[in-house]
Symmetry: C2
C-alpha cells in the first residue's frame, strides 16, 4: 500500500480519504503528475511543477502554491530514498453539475509507492493498440485525469512480455504509447510527434529533447504517420519513472539499440 | 447536502467516503446516471439501467447487478418524494497504473438531491460554446466520467439567463448541449444528431424519439451541420431531469414554441 497524504494529512490506506462530492471522482476533473524519487530527491521536480501549473491554468483550476506542494512533498518522502510519487490535484468539491464552482479549494492527493517498477536493462517489446486517441487541442499536452482511452488501450493485452502499446489518434497519426512518449530515428534525425491534438507532453520527453540539443543531435517535432514506424532506424519510449526505454521488437519488426538512443541514455544517466 | 449512499451504506456528507486508490478519482474511470425522482418513483428507470449496463460493457467494468442497484435505490429514496438522483459506478480500487485490474469490485456512489432544478415554464435562452467535443467512436453514446470538455464548456459563461450551451465536435458538426441532447425541426422533420462520434445518448432523448414515433412524427438521426441551426423551425433540448426544454433564443435568433415541440411536451406529460 502506498504512503498517502491528502490535503496535508497523512492518511492510512485503510481509511476513506476523499469526499463523495469531489469533482475528481465525478468527472476526472483534475491534473496529475507521476515522479521518480531517487536517493531522496525527485528527478526533474521543476519540470513537474511547470507542467502541473500549465495544466491547472488550462483547466481553470487554481493551482496550489509551490510552497504548499513542496511542504507536502517533504512530509511525504521523509525517510524514504526511492520510489514513485503520484500527485493528483482535482478541482475539489462542488455541488452537482459540470459548472466549475467559484472559489473551490483544489484537493491534493499524494501517494508514494516505495517499490520501483522493473527497469529495462536492454530493450522492450511493444505492440500496436487499436484504441484510438481523440483529437482535442484544448486538452492536448497536459496530464489531465480523463484517461479512459489509455485504460481501454492497456486492457487490449495482458502478456507481460509486452511492455507498452503504441497509440494512433482518430486520424491515424502516431501520438504516443499508453504511458510513454515515443521517439523514432529517421534518416539520422530524432523525430517525435508534436502532440498538437492529443497526448501528454512528458517530463522525460522534455529532458530528452534538452539532452539531444546539448549533444547536437538533429530533432524534429512534427506529425508522424503510422507507417513511418516500420522504417525507423531506432525507436525508444520515454517516461518520467522508467527513463528511456529502447524498443527492440514491435510485431514482426525488430531493432537493436542504436547509437543515438545509447548516446541519450548515457547523457541522461550523467545528467543531474 | 445530498443524501449519500456508498456501496450499500448511508454516509454522512461530512465524512470522507471514497478510498484514495479509487480509479474514478484518478482517471474518471466510471459511468454515471442522473435520474429524476417524482412522487417516490424514478422516471424511466429501465432506460437508465440499460444505458448503465451498456456503458459498463463498453468500458469492461463488471456492472453491478440490477437487484443490488434496486435494493440500494430503495434504501436511498426511502420516505422521499421528489429529487434528482445521481449514481456513479467506478471501476473501483486498484494499484497505480492504467491497466484495469482483474476482478476489481466497482464502487457504487449514490446521491439524492432533494431540491429539483427550476423547470422552465415557457422556453430557454441558450448560446454557442467554443469548447469542442473530440471524436471517439469507442466512447460516444455512453455516459462515462471523462467530462472535462463539458466542464470547460460550462465555464464559458456565467450569465444565469443563459440556460445551456450548444457544442460542436472538432470537425464542426453539432453534437449536443453541455448537459442536454438537441433536437431541431427542419422542413417539418424532427432532426437530432446521431452521436456516432461524440455525445451521450440521453434517456430523455430516447423517450422523445419513442413518443415522436407514437405520434407519427417524422424523425431523422443524422450528422447535423452547425449552420442548420439558424434555419430550424423549432428547437428544443432534452435531459432526464429537465425534460423537454423549448429553445426560444440563441444569439440573435429567436423562436416561439412550435407545434411539434408542444405535441411532444404534452405526450411526455401524459406518458407514465
Amino acid at each position: 500500500m502506498p504512503i498517502t497524504l491528502f490535503n496535508g494529512q497523512l492518511i492510512s490506506s485503510d481509511h476513506a480519504t476523499l469526499y463523495a462530492d469531489d469533482r475528481g471522482f465525478h468527472y476526472g476533473d483534475g491534473i496529475f503528475e507521476t515522479m521518480r524519487l531517487v536517493g531522496g530527491c525527485v528527478r526533474f521536480l521543476e519540470d513537474h511543477w511547470q507542467r502541473l501549473i500549465l495544466g491547472c491554468a488550462r483547466l481553470g483550476i487554481a493551482a496550489p502554491s509551490i510552497d504548499v506542494l513542496n511542504g507536502e512533498l517533504t512530509q511525504l518522502i521523509k525517510g524514504q530514498e526511492d520510489g514513485v510519487i503520484k500527485l493528483v490535484v482535482s478541482r475539489g468539491r462542488s455541488e452537482r453539475g459540470y459548472r466549475p464552482p467559484v472559489g473551490s479549494q483544489p484537493s491534493r492527493l499524494w501517494q508514494l509507492h516505495t517499490s520501483l517498477p522493473q527497469l529495462v536493462t536492454y530493450g522492450i517489446q511493444i505492440r500496436w493498440c487499436s484504441t484510438r486517441l481523440a483529437r482535442n487541442e484544448q486538452l492536448a499536452g497536459i496530464k489531465h485525469c480523463n484517461r479512459l482511452e489509455q485504460i481501454l488501450a492497456q486492457a487490449e493485452w495482458s502478456d507481460p512480455a509486452i511492455a507498452e502499446g503504441l497509440m494512433l489518434d482518430t486520424d491515424g497519426e502516431l501520438v504516443c504509447a499508453t504511458m510513454s512518449n515515443v521517439f523514432l530515428v529517421l534518416d539520422q534525425v530524432i523525430v517525435t510527434p508534436d502532440l498538437r491534438y492529443a497526448g501528454v507532453e512528458g517530463v522525460m520527453r522534455k529532458n530528452v529533447l534538452r539532452l539531444a540539443d546539448q549533444l547536437g543531435l538533429s530533432v524534429e517535432l512534427r506529425a508522424v504517420r503510422a507507417e513511418e514506424v516500420a522504417s525507423a532506424e531506432e525507436m525508444f519510449l520515454t517516461n518520467a519513472v522508467r527513463g528511456i526505454q529502447p524498443v527492440i521488437k514491435l510485431d514482426q519488426e525488430s531493432w537493436s539499440v542504436g547509437s543515438m538512443t545509447q548516446q541519450l541514455i548515457m547523457a541522461l544517466n550523467h545528467s543531474s
